[in-house]
Symmetry: C2
Subunit: 336 residues, 2 copies
Amino acid sequence: MPRTARRRASISDVARLAGVSVGTVSNVLNRPERVSAATRERVQTAIAELSFVPNGSARQLRVGTITTVGAVVLDISNPFFTDLARGIEARLDQDDYTLMVASSDEDPEREARYLRLYEQHGVQGIMVVPATDEIDHLVALAERGVGIVLLDRPSPVESLSSVAVDDVHGGALAVRHLLEQGHERIAFLNGPHTIHQCADRYEGAVQAVEAAGLDPAVVLEELTVSLNADGGDAGTRQLIDRDDRPTAVFCVNDLVALGSLRTLRRAGLSVPDDLAVVGYDDVTFAAELATPLTSVRQPTHELGVRAADLLLRGSDAEPQHVVFQPALVVRESSAR
Amino acid sequence: MPRTARRRASISDVARLAGVSVGTVSNVLNRPERVSAATRERVQTAIAELSFVPNGSARQLRVGTITTVGAVVLDISNPFFTDLARGIEARLDQDDYTLMVASSDEDPEREARYLRLYEQHGVQGIMVVPATDEIDHLVALAERGVGIVLLDRPSPVESLSSVAVDDVHGGALAVRHLLEQGHERIAFLNGPHTIHQCADRYEGAVQAVEAAGLDPAVVLEELTVSLNADGGDAGTRQLIDRDDRPTAVFCVNDLVALGSLRTLRRAGLSVPDDLAVVGYDDVTFAAELATPLTSVRQPTHELGVRAADLLLRGSDAEPQHVVFQPALVVRESSAR
DNA sequence: TCAGCGTATTGAATCGTTTCATCGTGCGCG
DNA sequence: CGCGCACGATGAAACGATTCAATACGCTGA
């Protein structure tokens, strides 16, 4: 069979074959009850015959709307963000919306690229975990009528809806716990403060130290690492090669903590005796690691559901700011 | 500021404001070198003034093509599939293509829905991990000119490109290893055989038993579970509540294995002494679990890269069938 | 027989781009 | 002085659907 590069069948091809007008074909597609059984039958045969699939761009150009929403997360490899996506999807499914997910990899360029892509394709709204503190472009998007919900961080402006978890509190929970365990030198493997969650968790850490009447400059040491297991490896290697090694590590997420635990194990150090470790997110595998990981749990799924909820209210509904509270889950990695 | 529901600015609004024709605006957008510096300047000011964003649907309707490809995977929560997606993205980035990912959750309905969505929006091609063995709809898609690459399973038909890992061999590797460890009663926590990978891994398991001169009906016991940690929990609970408990469990993926290990730990059973466990995929956390997990490693990232490679050759290139080989990584969960 | 009505179908306008044949204009050159 | 040539800019057609006012066609009842 020769590979004929034939054009996709259009609605008028169908109309011609069925011997009706394009309007009728469109009616068969969208309001079948308006067309007589006989014609409907004939049109449907023609559709099958040509294996016609309506052109989504044409449809969307005409009707102007689409039941798709986009999401941009920081890192699709991080279970936290896929759980979040699942929460979003769960809510969207109820209204027959579909979700497109993209990963910015914490790169503002990539974030902008996907935002542009989504806007150009006229999605109903976008949920985004911003890669930086700079959100003017999001405000601009919203002003152009695109529904925007800030994910996993509170909105700095009134006009943008947001769904967040109190990261300051989360950071404080983790560090207060380590202080209570008697640690007085704590390393914080964190990401860049341009990422809001990182800045907030650090602030919480500082507050916890101060609340205990100690000096953050002495107790707390921050290392900037990349937000994955490799980052945990790298940061931890730096720590253990020194004589004034801290006694505890607080990792900004569980992936970093995974890398940290991995490196400690390879170096033959024991957790929590030589070094206590606390993670963040409480992902599925956290409880099942060689040393079960103490972690700050977030209502991840609920976060997604709520965000989708806000988005589906439409872009002209009153902006709303939801903040959930995190909880500490203590396991062996920080206490016996 | 009153919330004016004003229409999105179009190219003709820009033209009017800049005092030029729409054709010129389009040229500024797409071939700036063809328009004089003065006009270009004027048009760009108008664009900024109206914060004009071109309508992607209209553009695509006209040019007919788009630099986006879609992927449908079985489960976005499974690190195996996100690693796969990362591989795809890595290759697509080189050609400035963008990737949209969706999760079928092993539901043929959902799969079909996303395929339709992608086709309607005229994506350049689709990579899909089929949820069932029935792939006629994919062949039909390909015949309509949509580039299709089967992911993670060999194509049963010549005309569809595919990138796969030898699952029969992988299943055999796992079970042969368990037999060598002296196990003679092995449970296989598997998914439904309608999922090709599941069927193949089972076939490999049977082959390994036969190659050892044993009877699969005696040695092997298959339990069908859902392909996540909860499935592992459920399947394992069934096993341990019996007196004729097997001595080893082969889990069809690492998520199932995670659930299995979790349940065994809670039941106070020791791994591998009471029960040996082998997983599949060798995800990041496999080596760091309470009992480091023996697993079958796949070249996941490479799989994605290669699939994207095939897709980018265009839909009329000669179909190709790539098969990678898996490797067994032995850890404590199956041997001391 | 015909007015009147309801139902099924039609056909043209429309959405916002891109593309391309056409048109003006200013300039160099014979 | 006038011809031809570049170069910029123009404007209309085309992409493929949806929508809606207009029309065609039977039928019923007076």
